[in-house]
Symmetry: D2
Subunit: 364 residues, 4 copies
Amino acid sequence: MASNSFGTLFRITTFGESHGPAIGVIIDGCPSGLPLTVEEIDRELQFRRPGQSAYTSPRAETDQVELLSGLFEGRTTGAPIALLIRNRDADPSQYETLKNLYRPGHANFTYLQKYGLFDYRGGGRASGRETVARVAAGAVAKKLLAHYQIDCVAFVAEVGGIAAPSPDQTDLRTLRAQVRLSPVFCPDEKTSAQIAACIAQVQQENDSIGGIIGCVAHIPVGLGDPVYEKLEAHLASAMLSIPATKGFEIGSGFAAARMKGSEHNDPFDVDQEGNVFPKTNYAGGTLGGISTGAPLFFRVAFKPPSSIKKPQETVTLKGEKTSFQTPHTGRHDPCIALRAVPVVEAMTALVLADALLKNRIVPL
Amino acid sequence: MASNSFGTLFRITTFGESHGPAIGVIIDGCPSGLPLTVEEIDRELQFRRPGQSAYTSPRAETDQVELLSGLFEGRTTGAPIALLIRNRDADPSQYETLKNLYRPGHANFTYLQKYGLFDYRGGGRASGRETVARVAAGAVAKKLLAHYQIDCVAFVAEVGGIAAPSPDQTDLRTLRAQVRLSPVFCPDEKTSAQIAACIAQVQQENDSIGGIIGCVAHIPVGLGDPVYEKLEAHLASAMLSIPATKGFEIGSGFAAARMKGSEHNDPFDVDQEGNVFPKTNYAGGTLGGISTGAPLFFRVAFKPPSSIKKPQETVTLKGEKTSFQTPHTGRHDPCIALRAVPVVEAMTALVLADALLKNRIVPL
Amino acid sequence: MASNSFGTLFRITTFGESHGPAIGVIIDGCPSGLPLTVEEIDRELQFRRPGQSAYTSPRAETDQVELLSGLFEGRTTGAPIALLIRNRDADPSQYETLKNLYRPGHANFTYLQKYGLFDYRGGGRASGRETVARVAAGAVAKKLLAHYQIDCVAFVAEVGGIAAPSPDQTDLRTLRAQVRLSPVFCPDEKTSAQIAACIAQVQQENDSIGGIIGCVAHIPVGLGDPVYEKLEAHLASAMLSIPATKGFEIGSGFAAARMKGSEHNDPFDVDQEGNVFPKTNYAGGTLGGISTGAPLFFRVAFKPPSSIKKPQETVTLKGEKTSFQTPHTGRHDPCIALRAVPVVEAMTALVLADALLKNRIVPL
Amino acid sequence: MASNSFGTLFRITTFGESHGPAIGVIIDGCPSGLPLTVEEIDRELQFRRPGQSAYTSPRAETDQVELLSGLFEGRTTGAPIALLIRNRDADPSQYETLKNLYRPGHANFTYLQKYGLFDYRGGGRASGRETVARVAAGAVAKKLLAHYQIDCVAFVAEVGGIAAPSPDQTDLRTLRAQVRLSPVFCPDEKTSAQIAACIAQVQQENDSIGGIIGCVAHIPVGLGDPVYEKLEAHLASAMLSIPATKGFEIGSGFAAARMKGSEHNDPFDVDQEGNVFPKTNYAGGTLGGISTGAPLFFRVAFKPPSSIKKPQETVTLKGEKTSFQTPHTGRHDPCIALRAVPVVEAMTALVLADALLKNRIVPL
């Protein structure tokens, strides 16, 4: 089944394996006339790049994008935009010892069952490396959104039970600055330090740890569509398509299950210009699947990475029980949530760009 | 934007407003040769029907389905199956008092902004009444799944902070029986009583309460597709498309954010026939978006219903602040999670039927 | 495979068998605010209705549409519009004698091979009766198009080798009036009489005859999309989806194969307001798959209907050679092209409505 | 609007401009386990390559494909297959003189109207150069089809009114050999010589000429789906998406309009093994949109190429009337139909691969 496209009107199709020659994406449906440079895309990739801090994997990809189509004299033409990122630091040899095992928490078990064969080198298509294409495409989506004053910022909200206070949703510039300053992409300075210590500890134990990413977006009223194309349905789908995700919640989320209607209903108010808006935002920015104009706010749960350097039980492809541990030379992240910040942001931008184009099909 | 279809190969398209003449669905892509009766669909609708207990709204719909196409001599023909359910107890008059207000927690604000007009009678297309079409279609999906020994059971897991113990995931027959016996669709008898008391109390306060629905499915290995079509991405989208949902989590879900890899990784084991399987199921039944053969397990958060009989602040369509309360004659549910049990089950069946057909496109 | 939907943004899904209880369609994606009445749809169905003249089959369907959803106070709401047409004159008994035969030129052979069973009554889903849903949906598309001054007229261009002169493409009102006046829907009076005589003759011989439908549309510049979504690709697909069609050509069509570039290239000219336009229209209204603003012009070939009252050789379902003839009581058309005029028009309107919505996704 | 994808289950997405850095395609949905080599793709590209004979344009592209993903140890993995073809002989300078003109018969008029800007170098995305990606993807589709004994052969059937006799549809190997031997891809030797002479003459006149491509495919019974997804509807759409096409006809095609039912109906017969088949094949291989098992046969009309070296009238972008001629240094084809043979074959393979996967969703 074709399963490598995302979006309807602003639509991406991605390809490439972790240890193959390249990762890439075709962006189809971007309106013409948008100014765009390779540097703008590289900048987003830079933010995602591994090996940047003590807390992420040391794989040393330069991740420079080659723009193959869709631009003319610095502007998009309406034609598909193809972006290519060569894999330069691929080192499949380190996977030799793992190729005959079902790796706990990994997709090689299911891929082998489904496809009869598996590109074991670095997880092939199931690798987190695949997300570089999402971030590259997200950079283009963000450029389009910026034209409409739409912006979104993702951040680390919680790691290993250490939760940052809920950030101010009204000022995205400040929020972004705080996130970029933090070594663990958490807007709260104090929590950042605690999370950094937690990750260092986990790393020392040859273990890994889970986390939660939050995301706030400023969008106009009216994005999203009724019934099966609700904005939150698309966001949920986008987030659960990111490797290692286990949950999605919007606004009050799972906490809503413990609330009463009289608490949870966001009363409408009206400002001096006569604009109606919800006074509180338990809804998280949508009603009936359509944006209210209040900040969009949601959270995404990430499991602890499955590749750990502690011994684990498993079974060989031949069906024999065995014990193994991920080689110490392997390049793995102790907390994938940290790496996922730009990915959540990119997928949000892709959902919003698609919703924006759908909504520009205005009523009479 | 066309937004009323769900699924790719097993595909439904629904229509109908809460207080219009009828609700209906076209099911396109059901394989030929499947035995099917109207009674089987009616039985599922019966389970969803309002006015069944003290804990659900008193709207008295008979909800009998008319089958308009797609069957010949008791079997599906491969042609689209159209199902029609007439609205018999529609009473738009009760909405007269609400038609000039933005109703907190309701979609009339966003629909008015997006479409310029709104069928205020009972929420129109944004009404929970729309889900009757999902349940009818789900009945057909379940029949198809049963042919492949696939089954799923949804249940009330938590209401207002009162949580049932996690049910046994291995025996779906018993689980289903427990759910159907409980007046609040909760498989645990003791918790059922507590939840019933909680709802009665909330009802007396003219308020409403949130809840969490759990769902377990038994499915073969190999359902779901890589990257953007992961099984959990489709489930998340399906669940967040149900009115009043605020969150989705699979397996360990948000709890994964507090776990270490050494705890969370499900070790593989092998049984005496040589079948490999995960010993624990923190994953919730998928790896890399593809089913492992372990039980699929996920949870869905529902907000407290927005229609409450307590006074609430809001703004009129003309922009004046006002206070109002949902009329006491209105037919509203104190806990929509209860009503959502068959809807969650139906949407699960629709996702699985689609994944099943996609997976029958077997490798060489 | 789900195969009963057409269009992307203006999207229809149809259902119903020739001799089942009803035929119907859901129109999803129609913008809100469009005034619409049941009468407008009935009027289009009236034009398609069988039994209107000596030259079409005597099946006596009233074909009155029931509008089940999507309207509020006389205007579309943006919600799906469901239309239901009951089959009142269904008489499956006449198909008893045919049910054990492979009928030459009919789909029961392929349906039986593909689905293992076949609703033999009147052709089931393969019947021309299915097109009533297309015409009903087309009526809504036409209403939307009219809002944008887009119009299209189909007509009989040729029957059994008798060809009408190419009509004036500039005045659609006159063309429509001529078509509606003709008993055989041919705008040229003299050719009409010849075609009528030809059909009468064929009918007397218990035979049938093929024909060609032409269609002219007035549309703005810019409809259609590059590469795989060219306007003519969608038109070709739409036309070849109509039962009994064998070919499609746009502008010069197959005659282009005998032309030189210096003849075929339409030179550009400029009018006094500075509007650039092609002086001739061999292109038929598009260049590179996108409309030029010149009249869209294309033709569709229809085979002679397969149901004839002459003896024919065939094979029974058990594999025995046999001879048969369609019962004289059967209600069949001697020239299906005549009946297809409103169907071609409806499918054109559906393609154009979809292209229009796609194009309203304007460049920056 | 995203418009650069084709197919549903076997799905391609293409990108790249005529004079940009590269052309490419992602093939998504190819089943795993298919042996595939770069050489097999190169061989198909070789057949399409310009500059091969006196009768095609002298652009000297080597057209070697780089395979970027989706293979592991010589077999497809089920992951997307990305193919990249660098443009090496791009020479945008020759388009400088044309960039301020609306070119008759070209898409720059419509692209400028629709997108506000146009990559004038060689037609950008509207160039025939785009079809190299179709041929590359078609090579993969053909490999998949071969596994199921499905084959197709396209050929020149007519140029400038010179028509070859209809070829034997039963022996595709011989037909392919005849086509590949002919300098003008026409299976009939005598007609080949006449067509070659015609093209030489046209070339000398600085003019161009149209033609018709025929295609025969051997496919099993059951491909294609009812109503809007008929096999011929997909073929028609595929063919009309190829640049310069003006028409499509299947089986009897436009000639059906002059035939009677008693002539046109293909009688069923039964062979000694009890297999039922149509004795004649006016249908062209389908009934009700589903393949009968008889050879699929259709024809595609191509206009004469618009780029000619004769003087032509037109208008400048500023709206002034002018005269121009395509520079003699430009690399243009006198008869694009010749170049289109492998493109028609590739698009046929893509339609059939998609139909094959759809049909493997077998009835119960």
